[in-house]
Symmetry: C2
Subunit: 380 residues, 2 copies
Amino acid sequence: MSKDIASHRLHAQLIGQPGSRDWLNTPALILDLAAFERNVARMADFARKHGLALRPHAKSHKSADIARAQIAAGAVGLCCAKLGEAEALAAEGIDGLHLTSPVVTPPAIARLAALSRRLTSLSVVADHPAAVAALASAAQGGLPLTVFVDIDPGIRRTGVATANDAVTLARLIADCPSLRYGGVQFYCGAQQHIQNFAERREAIAERTRYLSKYLADLAAAGLPPKVVTGGGTGSHAIDAELGVLTELQVGSYIFMDREYAECDLDGGGAMPFETALLVDARVISANTIGLITIDAGLKAFATDAGPATIIAGAGDDARYRFMGDEHGAVMGTDLPGLGARITLGTPHCDPTVNLYDAYHVINGEDLVAIWPVTARGRSA
Amino acid sequence: MSKDIASHRLHAQLIGQPGSRDWLNTPALILDLAAFERNVARMADFARKHGLALRPHAKSHKSADIARAQIAAGAVGLCCAKLGEAEALAAEGIDGLHLTSPVVTPPAIARLAALSRRLTSLSVVADHPAAVAALASAAQGGLPLTVFVDIDPGIRRTGVATANDAVTLARLIADCPSLRYGGVQFYCGAQQHIQNFAERREAIAERTRYLSKYLADLAAAGLPPKVVTGGGTGSHAIDAELGVLTELQVGSYIFMDREYAECDLDGGGAMPFETALLVDARVISANTIGLITIDAGLKAFATDAGPATIIAGAGDDARYRFMGDEHGAVMGTDLPGLGARITLGTPHCDPTVNLYDAYHVINGEDLVAIWPVTARGRSA
């Protein structure tokens, strides 16, 4: 720990100095402040305009600073994927947290109960009666804990798989004095990255018709959900148009990685969000024609979504490929020499952020802030 | 930072308590102490028997505790891939460090000079005259810095690409009063994971014949390298047989991931090393026949080398697949229920370790120690 803090301190001395970006140790995770702020404002405006609650997903950024910026722009709170993320954000004063994964083991439920005592608003999902019973027991004597019924959108990851199970679970939650029935969660993860807008729209519309059957059965049982939470950066415009979700769990819009940059997000062709998350790297070997080696490899980028993109520092035809844990190759016809800086876009933002301890927040060539990745590594 | 320490403290209370492994927050990185200690001893014995210096690669483990165990067993020091790794280990008192990647930018060379002042032994590689000149200039007035000529084994990542360039660079180093010529580095990364032993042996033998031309030219120029450092877990037995390397940079042997477990390491058929690195996960959803969801996804395992393996907790036919950032699926005919523990082997150890803050060191079902991943995230 002490070493990471020391490294932050070293960079902290650079804050506010003109041209200080060039003195960062590389690879360095970079956040373009102006682009980030425009992204935050645009999604907040979109949600407001469409009467949707905005509860951005903290699993993308794991940052208390970013959570505060989202809340300041109008978010009702944050989603967290893991209990550890929620604990880390709560310790930094972030409230209004919703856990999007079931919490089921005794140690995890004990942590959840402790967390609920320090927040004014905490909700969690459940997809099994045994988990609801355990939550009810843990919540006794504390504040009411809000529980959502998690509905499986068909990928068999988490969630109930029938409308009947949804009604049973909602009734179980509503009947527990120590629990509050919050509504339902329905997250269509598999559809978010369909590149073509019309195809993505049809896929989301089909899944939303599927969801409507659950909502009708819940209403018929006297358990209509007040909140229907779900959606992502890829579906937000479609979800707003369809009008079934009441709350958006969008995450990646603040950063825009290569996966989302390749999608037409709102059917308008022009991208409503900008690439704000970057990695600065350096050329450390240049002994080959048409190829240079940079200091950013598969410990610098998540590898689940293909290669990083070259944003600046090399010719237009330059492309990146992984060269092992510590190195990457940049290939092209117009390449810089030893020591030069190359700026890259991330292939998949969430797991890339999770590799770093801090965002280096920049305004052009100047480091203006360092924001810790508050919940880095809090996968438990 | 404070949150991670808090989380360590929580687990620290479990150390020495019988059955405490079952109370770890999951996913948890697990080190099987007995298997790890046998691996450390076996490689140390192997190197001793073959008259080879052993300088294990810290990029695999990033741990001061593991470095100390390797040195206690006879290692001459450690390799580090990045300056940040070396700084973090040096801060914990580890000496005898060799940097296996070129250090070329002014901020990095300034850090290297500072590091050299606090160690009795530090070496680095170079593959370009400009980098040698910069190192020489930075080392003036300090202790002599040892520099190795990095030779490209043909993958065009780092290293000189001709014997002529190797002689030029060696002479440049030897002629600098502030530098010491340490020898050459030759790491055949691409050949380490060839599964069939005979094929791997032939590939390494061919590359070693290629290296011999460099060594002959260096000797003819009056610059025979005292140390020829390289090799990995996949080639260590072959390197020892060929007798050209004088020092082994093995890393993964302490852990044994799936990639190496699928190789015949010494041509004997029986695996000389044991799987010591594990991840404990928990079932968080079980609503589907033949599939359960665990809390370990692509933030819990590196994704560059295929799926994790199921070690314990499910039937023999159980297999894992990634289900997004936070989740994994375990599919099979004999699966446990909600909350059950599943133990997995890692697909690729180095970048998996880099996702976690600490090893949970276990003896069977008991947590016996927590070892921080000292240099986690020190990719710069």
